[in-house]
């Protein structure tokens, strides 16, 4: 009963706050990684270099699907904005279902930009089907494909360190976010601009995708405060011997 209540409440709040955000967009706090990402998207078109968006190897049938969907939301935005570039963005995935959605999302971005003819199916790639084979297949892209910025957004474990090293060797910028704790600590030490925890899910809001993305952040904040209050109340009750 509690999960259903949380789900319905989250859905209701998302709807209401999205309507409110359409009228009052509000401001988001500065996150260096997203500032750099927005700049990288613009510069990639001017510099004649491409972006590489790596969506990790999270499947859609387990708990890692959330990060994969967040990566796809970002990809949709970037695809639309960089589709007119001479060097269009390349996206890689380490899971076949995610690979299919990567291609579909890229195509949708090109369609939205009105340049669907420019879409080539090899822009969305499945580079490996296990974590290390995926990384091994992706490591050559920063080096060989004229990449200016690597964006790692999805499920990555510690193997993200190898991608970060490949990015460093190719002298390209790296922005990284994952929901995996080991992956986060690796990206924290490896990436120029790491994103920690739920910042992974804020990418859409920072790239002005839709008011619903900003509303999602507000709903997350509301729930976070509810959880904090619940924890404090539980601690106080335990301290006073209520249970």
């Amino acid at each position: 009963m509690i999960p259903l209540t949380v789900l319905l409440l989250a859905g209701f709040l998302l709807g209401v706050i999205t309507l409110w955000k359409r009228r009052n967009p509000g401001a988001l706090r500065q996150i260096a990684a997203f500032t750099r990402l927005a700049r990288a998207v613009g510069l990639s078109i001017e510099d004649g270099k491409r972006l590489h968006i790596s969506l990790g190897h999270g499947g859609l049938f387990d708990g890692r699907g959330g990060s994969a969907l967040a990566g796809l939301a970002l990809l949709r935005n970037i695809a639309e904005r960089t589709s007119v570039s001479d060097m269009p963005s390349v996206a890689t995935a380490g899971d076949p279902t995610l690979g299919l959605l990567t291609q579909d999302t890229l195509q949708a971005g090109y369609h939205a930009a009105g340049v669907e003819d420019a879409y080539v199916h090899t822009m969305g790639r499945v580079t490996g089907l296990t974590p290390f084979s995926y990384v091994a297949g992706t490591m050559s892209i920063p080096q060989n494909e004229n990449v200016s910025t690597n964006i790692l957004l999805g499920h990555f474990g510690p193997e993200a360190g190898l991608l970060a090293e490949a990015s460093e060797r190719a002298n390209t910028a790296l922005i990284g976010a994952t929901e995996d704790l080991a992956g986060q600590s690796v990206l924290f030490i490896s990436a120029q601009e790491p994103l920690v925890g739920e910042e992974l899910f804020a990418a859409g809001a920072y790239l002005n995708a839709d008011p619903a993305h900003a509303a999602s952040l507000t709903v997350q904040d509301l729930f976070r405060w509810l959880i904090i209050l619940g924890l404090l109340a539980g601690s106080a009750a335990k301290f006073m011997g209520v249970f």
Binding site: P3, L7, A10, G11, L14, G15, F61, G63, G65, L69, A70, L72, A73, R76, P96, T97, G99, L100, L101, T105, Q107, A108, G109, H111, H121, T122, G124, R125, V126, T127, G128, L129, F132, V135, A136, S140, N144, P158, E159, G161, L162, E165, E179, Q184, V186, F188, I189, V196, G197, E198, L200, F201, G204, D210, A212, S216, V219, Q220, F223, R224
Partner: protein, 209 residues
């Protein structure tokens, strides 16, 4: 067409979700319908794997055809892929040759060597961290990692006093565990809202034309 795609995706998403929440006593068909839909999804995922392999093959044959830099690796990949595929079809994956040559002779050692390479890479990245980001968080990260190492390391003269029994458990079980739980709660909330956006049709990873 996009509307139809969205309607189908949302409808099936809601049906699968309801399978988790509706009481089976009142809605006996909800769970079985959910199971059927998930079975379809698994079959589609299997087909997607084939498409993924075909995509991999297309990308690398393109590289060979255009004589791109490091095309030799693409050629090795294509040859290896075809050889593994044919061996799997004719010998079956359980065959001794498949297990001993492909799995134990190539795949496992290569992945293990990448794991070894990763250990060195991470050590090097940790050393570079202070040069790249000499802020409070960077210093705290390095000190914490060093303390955990000192508490875990086995030295010739025995364990360091207090590090293994007090410092390491205190850092890993109190600070690190508390922080990890906080991060996981945030990630869980983020995933929940991302899923809801897809369910509401706001984000459409099933874009289509």
């Amino acid at each position: 067409m996009r509307v139809v795609t969205a309607v189908i995706a949302i409808a099936f998403g809601v049906l699968v979700l309801l399978g988790y929440f509706l009481p089976q006593a009142l809605f006996p068909n909800a769970a079985s319908l959910q199971a059927v839909l998930l079975d379809w999804a698994v079959i589609l995922a299997g087909a997607a794997a084939l498409i993924g392999v075909f995509n991999l093959l297309t990308v690398h044959t393109d590289k060979i055809r255009r004589r791109e830099k490091d095309g030799i690796y693409s050629a090795i990949l294509v040859i290896g892929l075809i050889a593994a595929l044919l061996s799997g079809i004719f010998l079956k994956p359980q065959h001794t040759l498949m297990q001993s040559v492909l799995l134990e002779g190539i795949i496992i050692p290569v992945e293990a060597s990448l794991m070894g390479l990763l250990a060195i890479t991470l050590l090097y990245a940790a050393v570079r961290l202070l040069r790249r980001r000499a802020d409070v968080m960077g210093v705290a990260f390095i000190i914490t990692a060093a303390l955990i190492f000192l508490g875990s390391i086995t030295l010739p003269f025995g364990d360091l006093p207090l590090f293994g029994t007090l410092v390491r458990p205190w850092i890993s079980q109190v600070w690190a565990l508390g922080g990890a739980r906080g991060i996981l709660i945030g990630v869980g909330l983020g995933a929940l809202l991302t899923g809801l956006r897809v369910l509401f049709g706001i984000d459409r990873p099933y874009g289509g034309k």
